[in-house]
């Protein structure tokens, strides 16, 4: 039986705003030196506290929607999603139910288009970790992460293969990074993945889907698709239907295990949060946000390449917003140096967190000057070597270009091994 893979993804991204989603606490859970340092009545869920939404988080989400061709809601609001869990201080999460900020949208891959269902904004939960205290098995809770702004991106079940999944996720991450709204560092929990996977024989959407959680990298995402394809095929071959459930991905053994049966939509009792007035998003506001739409990854690569940087170097620079900032400044200060700077960056020859573009350019200039003064000493040496070997010079000029290497070696030997081979070569060529 041949089956087709049908997969939708649910991606949560922590926005890197300065402050949290509904209060002014610092948004830096991963680097906090101690637990429960960045809390206040609001994110700790104290009696009497009230939420006020972070404007930048809202605009960052709309920005992503614009970059992904979503429709931006004209009216949006926040809703309360109720369930009890120790990491949820209010007993409800402020999220968005039926009027998300962004509707639809898409991202193209070489395997085809992945359509988006929606992008919405909500608050993150606190962090739970297991421990044993006084011989007792306990969960420790840290609210530094509580109420950090979280974007949720939901795709249609358009992902058809593990390769397509990887390309889609990488593309999505690159865009988010290029927009400067999130770091998407999976190790720090800045980007979390979930897959909804089912198989079909004839292309119609089956009546079941398996949710896979605990996926910590794009590779593991792809792996889980492979595993599920195998597992679900075997069940379907037997004439049975895979159980509608939630499974967890285990990276060590590269498989998924059943966690709990996914009931038809837990009763979250959504209702509009009465503490937060609705959002009216008019075209004037959207235009302001649109101005922030920086060039997207492909465009950035094209720009860098046309400035003389190799495509592979450009791709490396694209991954690192600080490198990108560095090269952009070099371009402004001294366009002629962009090519060298770009290659130096990609080859990790620049300590770009410590050195400014100006300082880098200064150092490069004095090196060149040293080169020139070195050259003034070198050139007589070069001429000497050529003068000492007239027959070889004649052979070179007759077409035996390989002899150049001999000349280079000879010159360098005469400098005690100190001369720069490239400079020597150029000087030789100049004199030949």
């Amino acid at each position: 039986m041949t089956y087709q893979l049908i997969c939708g993804a649910e991606i949560h991204v922590e926005l890197k705003t300065k402050s949290k989603m509904f209060c002014g606490c610092q948004n830096d859970p991963f680097h906090a030196p101690k637990p429960n340092l960045y809390t206040c009545p609001v994110c700790l869920g104290l009696p009497g506290a009230l939420p006020v939404p972070n404007q930048k988080a809202i605009e960052d989400t709309i920005l992503l929607g614009l970059a992904l061709h979503s429709q931006i809601a004209k009216v949006s609001k926040f809703d309360r999603k109720h369930y009890f869990y120790p990491d949820l201080p209010k007993g409800y999460q402020i999220s968005q139910y039926d009027q998300p900020l962004c509707i639809g949208g898409y991202l193209d891959t070489s395997f085809g288009r992945v359509n988006l269902t929606r992008i919405h904004l909500e608050e993150d939960t606190a962090k739970l970790q297991h421990a044993t205290v006084n011989g007792q098995s306990v969960s420790l809770i840290d609210f530094n992460r509580s109420s950090v702004p979280l974007m949720e991106i939901v795709t249609e079940p358009d992902i058809k293969s593990p390769e397509m999944a990887k390309e889609f996720l990488k593309g999505l991450r690159d865009i988010i990074r290029a927009l400067g709204i999130a770091d998407c560092d999976m190790e720090k929990g800045g980007m979390r993945l979930e897959a909804n996977i089912s198989l079909t024989k004839d292309g119609t959407l089956p009546h079941y889907k398996v949710e896979v959680k605990n996926i910590n990298s794009f590779r593991f995402f792809a792996n889980s698709l492979d595993y599920e394809f195998q597992r679900q095929s075997e069940i379907l071959d037997k004439g049975e239907i895979p159980a509608q459930e939630t499974r967890g991905y285990r990276s060590t053994s590269n498989l998924t295990v059943s966690q709990r049966t996914k009931e038809d939509a837990a009763d979250y009792r959504y209702f509009p949060d009465p503490d937060i007035p609705p959002l009216i998003i008019d075209s004037a506001w959207v235009s302001t946000i649109q101005q922030r739409l920086r060039k997207l990854p492909n465009q950035i690569i094209t720009d860098l390449v046309s400035a003389g940087i190799t495509e592979s170097a450009a791709k490396i620079i694209l991954q690192d917003p600080d490198m990108l900032t560095f090269i952009t400044q070099v371009k402004i200060l001294d366009p002629k140096s962009v090519r060298t700077a770009g290659n130096d960056l990609a080859n990790k020859k620049i300590d770009y967190h410590q050195i400014t573009p100006e300082a880098y350019l200064e150092a490069k200039k004095s090196n060149v000057q040293n080169q020139i003064s070195a050259n003034s000493q070198l050139e007589p040496l070069v001429r000497q070597v050529l003068a000492d070997n007239p027959e070889l010079v004649a052979q070179y000029r007759a077409g035996k270009t390989g002899i150049l290497g001999f000349f280079v070696g000879a010159v360098i030997k005469n400098t005690g091994g100190k001369a720069d081979p490239r400079t020597v070569t150029e000087l030789l060529k100049k004199n030949l």
Binding site: T17, C23, P35, P53, R192, Q259, L279
Partner: protein
Amino acid sequence: MKAKVIITTDQVKHLAKLAALPLSDDRLKKLVGQIETTFEYVQTLEKTDTTTLDETNQVTGLTNVMREDIIDDSRTFTQEQALQNAKHSHNGYFVVPAIFVAEDN
């Protein structure tokens, strides 16, 4: 004519679970009757035609109330303040008995 509202014990048990309310059998029994009374009362709304009406969930008429993305130190608690009312804390964390949770996040 008002229909008699019947709430079953199972329904009440389910609601209690959703609301995380531990209920003794005694309280459960009493609640069934009390909830029924409430629903008979609110059912009077059925008589009123609301088909042409919009919903009002905000009487303020306000929209777009947001805050600037700046850190507000004036409200941030020290770790001690955050923990001051917790029954159980350990090394700066709040503590609860172990929850069995598969390694999410």
